[in-house]
């Protein structure tokens, strides 16, 4: 009996110990994922959330950064921004610049990708074209700005050819004329950005099973039908993803605009990015600049929402 009691006590102790251990282990197990993401979250908070919160705070203050006695003014900075006609002009031009860039990036990128994927083009030619087409991607925005400022100078190569071919009979001031500057700038951005689409879509094209095309051929489909009923639907997830990303990135383009036109002539190429930069670093109106930056942030977040929704739906499919 005494033995039994002793055994029972021993058993009970073991169970308790095991129970504690397993409970402790399960708590550790639950905390483990959080520990894994903690360094990334710390960095994210420090480098992203904190600056964003600061900019949001500045946008609600008067004389932020510059005045030690800056105070809370609510949405006054936003009201001031929204009452500035240059802001609305910048917004309209940013949308034009972005939409045109995204559409033409896609068209040119897709055309070149199809060309590089086509078996009708000789492999040697394809390799040469592949190098040539990717070239714009290798240049930084500063180099692109310098190159195109020279090419589109009134005394530059483009005008030289156009005059020689009798297409124009005067020197067009591409970046200097309010009538042409925004189009010239958009053209340069299209030139600089299409390789991203080309490379992504080429990868997508190479991933489409050949059997689809063989089956279509058996059914008597022609090239155009192949493109619209096989190629395009297969590329749709890639197109949607990069178009949304491109939209977000292009809306925030700054160096190219700044280095080519600086937002001029007059305000013909003013974008939200240059408008914000000027507020901050030439007028030292950091509160207004923060309010403008928050507007860009909100616009980008709207697009990011669609991007994430699209990514989720792709993942679920």
């Amino acid at each position: 009996m005494a033995h039994r009691e002793a055994d029972g006590a021993l058993f009970a102790t073991a169970v308790t110990k095991n129970g504690r251990r397993s409970h402790k282990n399960s708590r550790r197990g639950a905390a483990l994922p959080y520990l894994f993401v903690a360094p990334a979250m710390a960095l994210f908070s420090l480098l992203m959330l904190f600056p964003m919160a600061m900019v949001f705070r500045y946008s609600l203050m008067d004389g932020a950064i510059l005045r030690p006695d800056s105070s809370f003014v609510g949405f006054r900075n936003f009201r001031e921004i929204f009452s500035d006609e240059i802001f609305w002009q910048s917004l309209g031009q940013t949308l034009y610049f972005t939409i045109m860039s995204v559409v033409f990036h896609l068209l040119i990128g897709l055309t070149f990708a199809l060309m590089l994927n086509s078996s009708r083009v000789h492999p040697m030619v394809r390799n040469v074209l592949r190098v040539l087409y990717i070239l714009p991607w290798l240049f930084t925005a500063v180099i692109i700005a310098i190159i195109w400022r020279l090419i589109l100078d009134p005394n530059g190569v483009i005008n030289g050819y156009l005059i020689a071919l009798n297409i124009i009979d005067f020197k067009v001031e591409w970046f200097s004329s309010p009538a042409t500057a925004i189009h010239a700038l958009t053209f340069v951005n299209i030139w600089a950005g299409y390789p991203l689409y080309m490379v992504s879509l080429l990868a997508g094209l190479q991933g489409i099973p050949k059997e689809y095309y063989e089956a279509a051929r058996v059914d008597g489909a022609n090239t155009v039908q192949n493109f619209f009923y096989i190629t395009l639907p297969q590329l749709k997830p890639i197109i949607t993803s990069i178009a949304l990303l491109d939209f977000i990135w292009t809306m925030q383009v700054f160096p190219l605009v700044w280095m080519t036109t600086g937002g001029g002539p007059i305000h013909a190429t003013e974008m939200l990015s240059t408008y914000t930069y000027k507020l901050a670093f030439t007028r030292y109106e950091f509160s207004l600049a923060s309010a403008s930056a928050i507007v860009i942030f909100v616009l980008s977040m709207c697009l990011t929402y669609f991007y994430i929704r699209h990514q989720r739906s792709t993942a679920n499919a």
Binding site: I65, L66, R67, R149, D153, P154, N155, K171, E173, F175, S176, S177, P178, A181, W258, M259, T260, T261, G262, G263, G264, P265, I266, H267, K278, F281, T282, R283, Y284
Partner: protein, 415 residues
């Protein structure tokens, strides 16, 4: 034995630390932020600092150097956070904003305390009666003329008045051969063309764009200057593409012989020679209004210097400022930089060695430094505001008087 050795080691380490600490306490280290070092020959500014340290035992100078724009950004951030370097390289265009912020110190008491003779400084930049900046080196902007093109056009003397300048520009313009009389950079990215190439015409005739410390753009002299520029633009005497042109484009066109005359910094003489060693060019003072025979204002850009308000070593910082402004050191520094001195008694040695610099020095001595943007609030933005209105005027959307009035209204909001 081992214990004794360890004890000796510990003692010597403690002694070294103590010596190190005491010497560190004796030394004052000044931080000097500027963009000059990268623009000078390698090691030149450091050498001057070493000489200063040798003459002022106990003061060390730590140079914080970077390109102009990066330095400006660093100064803006430093001013906002109260961590500005002790001695600050300044552009006149920043002084108003930094002084209003309380980021740079008034140097009047420091000058008095050090018995500094302020009459030797070429142009002290003051605000509300307080002195905030000394120009260490000045780069003046005369008119550069392509002498070969001038000769080919049958012009035998440099234009001295506005009428002579227009007549010369007319003869020098041959648009079929891409040759133009003048070049006018009006890019809004770097709007200093408004200061150097537009307003300089007003100052050259001894006139002003200010009145009682407030903008006065609607006065007849400013409006007349804008009309003068518009007439040259309408006549096609100015190289095309002005609205996107920057200073470097202007120099490039002059170097290539596309434009015969330009207003430019003396600092570019060597650059122009390097780019085109065959270019035969001369310099002359900016033409004045017809009949004007007074002293001519010379537009300039300068390497200015000031002291941070947050500096804990203002007296030592002023010693460095005074050293750089002293006759001998100032002459040495500007000789290396090919600039004109901030000390009126200093004479740079390149003046005797180079004919062009000699001519420039004569222009410098017969005129006076004039840059009314120095010390104004948000000076660069003021240039941009006027730049937009000048572009509207040249586009034919408004008259010179309307451009001046609109710019005046925008400027008034910033004062």
């Amino acid at each position: 034995m081992r214990f004794a050795k360890s004890l000796t080691l510990l003692k010597s380490a403690a002694l070294s630390i103590a010596i190190g600490l005491s010497s560190a306490q004796a030394d004052t280290t000044l931080e000097f932020i500027q963009w000059w070092e990268p623009e000078l020959p390698s090691g030149a500014l450091r050498q001057i600092m070493d000489d200063f340290e040798a003459q002022n035992p106990g003061i060390k100078v730590n140079l914080v150097s970077g390109p102009y724009s990066a330095t400006r950004d660093q100064i803006v951030v430093g001013a906002a956070s109260g961590t500005l370097s002790d001695v600050v390289g300044l552009d006149g265009a920043w002084v108003n904003d930094l002084a209003k912020q309380g980021a740079i110190a008034a140097m009047d008491d420091l000058m008095a305390g050090a018995d500094f003779d302020k009459s030797q400084v070429a142009a002290i930049i003051s605000l509300n009666g307080n002195s905030y900046m000394f120009p260490v080196a000045s780069f003046v902007y005369p008119v550069f003329v392509n002498l070969d093109l001038l000769k080919n056009a049958g012009i035998d003397q440099m234009p001295s008045s506005r009428t002579e300048f227009v007549e010369a520009a007319r003869k020098l313009t041959d648009s079929d051969n891409n040759q133009y009389g003048w070049v006018l950079p009006l890019s809004l990215q770097a709007p200093n063309g408004i200061q150097n190439d537009v307003m300089s015409w007003v100052w050259a005739s001894g006139k002003s764009m200010m009145k009682d410390g407030m903008p006065d753009l609607t006065n007849a002299n400013v409006v007349g200057t804008l009309e003068y520029i518009q007439s040259m633009y309408d006549e096609g005497l100015i190289s095309p593409g002005s609205f996107a042109k920057k200073e470097q484009d202007k120099v490039e066109e002059f170097v290539n012989g596309r434009v015969a005359m330009m207003v430019d910094s003396l600092a570019h003489i060597n650059l122009i020679r390097e780019r085109n060693s065959d270019l035969n060019f001369g310099i002359t003072a900016l033409p004045a209004m017809d009949g004007y025979d007074g002293r001519r204002g010379l537009p300039y850009a300068s390497w200015g210097i000031g002291i941070a308000e947050n500096s804990e070593h203002k007296e030592e910082a002023f010693k460095l400022v005074a050293y750089l402004m002293s006759t001998e050191v100032n002459a040495k520094l500007v000789s290396i930089a090919n600039a004109f001195p901030g000390n009126v008694n200093a004479t740079p040695d390149f003046v005797a060695a180079d004919e062009l610099f000699g001519t420039a020095f004569e222009i410098f001595q017969t005129g006076y430094l004039a840059n009314e943007f120095v010390g104004l609030p948000v000076a660069e933005e003021l240039m941009r505001m006027l730049g937009v209105e000048v572009q509207q005027m040249l586009e034919g959307n408004q008259s010179a008087a309307e451009a001046a009035a609109k710019a005046q209204a925008k400027w008034a909001e910033e004062f």
